[in-house]
Symmetry: C2
Subunit: 373 residues, 2 copies
Amino acid sequence: MGDKVAGSEHRGETTGKLRDFGAGIVDLIYKGKNPSFEAPTRARSNIKYDEKEAILKLGGGKEERSFINVAQSKKFMQTIAVASKCNTFLKENLHTSIRGLYYQLKLSLGEDVDENLFDEQSESNPLIEDLEVALGVKREDLNLSADRKGFLAGNVRIIDRFGDERLEIDGTKQGRGGWPIPSDVDNGIEFVDVKAKAVLVVEKDAIWQRLNEDQFWKKENMILITPKGQASRGTRRLIRKLSDMVLPVYVFNDCDAWGWYIYWTIKTGSMNLAYISSEIATPGARFLGVTMADIERYDFLKKLTIKANEVDLKRAQEMLSYPWINRHKEWVGELKKVIQTKTKLEQDSLQGPRLTFIGDYIRDKVRGQDFLP
Amino acid sequence: MGDKVAGSEHRGETTGKLRDFGAGIVDLIYKGKNPSFEAPTRARSNIKYDEKEAILKLGGGKEERSFINVAQSKKFMQTIAVASKCNTFLKENLHTSIRGLYYQLKLSLGEDVDENLFDEQSESNPLIEDLEVALGVKREDLNLSADRKGFLAGNVRIIDRFGDERLEIDGTKQGRGGWPIPSDVDNGIEFVDVKAKAVLVVEKDAIWQRLNEDQFWKKENMILITPKGQASRGTRRLIRKLSDMVLPVYVFNDCDAWGWYIYWTIKTGSMNLAYISSEIATPGARFLGVTMADIERYDFLKKLTIKANEVDLKRAQEMLSYPWINRHKEWVGELKKVIQTKTKLEQDSLQGPRLTFIGDYIRDKVRGQDFLP
């Protein structure tokens, strides 16, 4: 594979975009016009599956937010307050969570003013999304940290420019813990010397730990990632960046609608985050298992199936209706089998015969290139 | 503080205990007696607050589990199966989760036998606890991994004997991520060169990240730990180990019954895990904040209080009834204030005036040694 480097510093760019955003509004004011800005609509009706890119995306719908509009005036003012705070965070070179931002906004009219610009965090969250789409940046680029989740081990070196230090983190020397995947994997961070030849994403941390103990990532020269359930924004972005370095991405999840949906979220992006799919979705990802078909192949699994509950079955039915899923006959077959047999399987069950069987299972699938699309 | 070393290898000892356990049962069989073993009772009635040690502990109550007893026969057999599996894991030097163990037990009568030794994981969980108390070991010593959660940064070096490697992890060089605290911080792991002078436990990961970015752990020479909400077994054990190295432990949580209960769990242990309090509780821990009294001291907090809901108030009422809490008049006052004013506060709110205020708040409290017991 050779040595590859991925950097994607957005910070300078974001500051520029914020400046242009503010200048545009000031300009409208000076011209005696109604201050306003335009942003792509994030409503469900404007979310499309893009067949060419094979990801969920926003369509062409746009919305205007303007100040002189009874329904929008407060929201407009709030969005400007959010932009102003983020601009300060970027200048200070400090990060906070959207909860931290919310508390700053609560005090933004001063401690002595009885009126609140914001009453609930639920008011500020959609405005952050407004700003992300209006500027065409991610919240991480605005120094807002999302929840972090997930771990990595494998042959990659990570450069973390943290404070005034330039730390080098060796993905092969993280021991039992692994490297915790941060919220922002773009700004101040680089992935260099990627010597691994593939990426294996494993739904559960317990299974990641099992494979890590077996040094599976070393033996197979794969980067071993667990999102710990549904993948965080940071973990999805990291998977995408590794995929952009031309590493194949294999996903190994539970055999149920939930585990499968985690795969689809990684692959095509999710509806909630469709506005950043082009940065965090990995259309080239392939599904390694667990599949209902595995029950035929591995006899012991018959004894380890679990009864699917109502939620599982409802979710499977929903997935059958998604055009980006039901275009694949393999997935239609799998989903129908869940619904017909009312059973599911956990990836943990592959430890049944012996703890190290789970690695053999993965090796078999990879050697046979036995994946679902 | 000087350089300190903490190792606490239990593996050899545990294998010996398992062997003795098995030998005891075999011996009874050869003598023609009913195979049985004795274990301390974990029922609520046998959980006491030990005033001298200041932790929750099991009392003297014991229970016998025996084979020739209609009510116990299956459970007895199952416990022996659990012990046998753990013995194998120790021999193989491999770890798994209790879910992984469960799937092995499901197959333990062979793939072809229709009868299951276990139907549900809820059957195997209490048997693992039985075995822990009967042997006087933690499940981590039996190579069973509990969920891991929590991160650390600060002046401590960690030796992780992982596979055939001896990895050295520098707690000051973990960057934005920190070191993820594993399930087992006793076997194959050591904390050496502890140059920090105190431990600061911070409830939320977002606040840990904020303080980590400010290099608070470096400036104040503290070990900065977040349990990410309720503390895992591994994180509680680690805090206790650092306390045993004579580091003072300060806990900084939300100002509500939930945040306060997280503190009490770290300090005295919890009822569910009373059987291992003597290893995972840290009676010397002190509470730094956030307190209801802070509202009087920091004017801006008045604007940032949140309405306490019914669950908060009920939990506060319960805590008032616990003798290990209501012996402290400071805590009675705080809990009553929550109930009277029906308000609470988040630690995040201390970022209101500026992002770095949170560090100043902690420094003030530590300098004034302004803690709750």
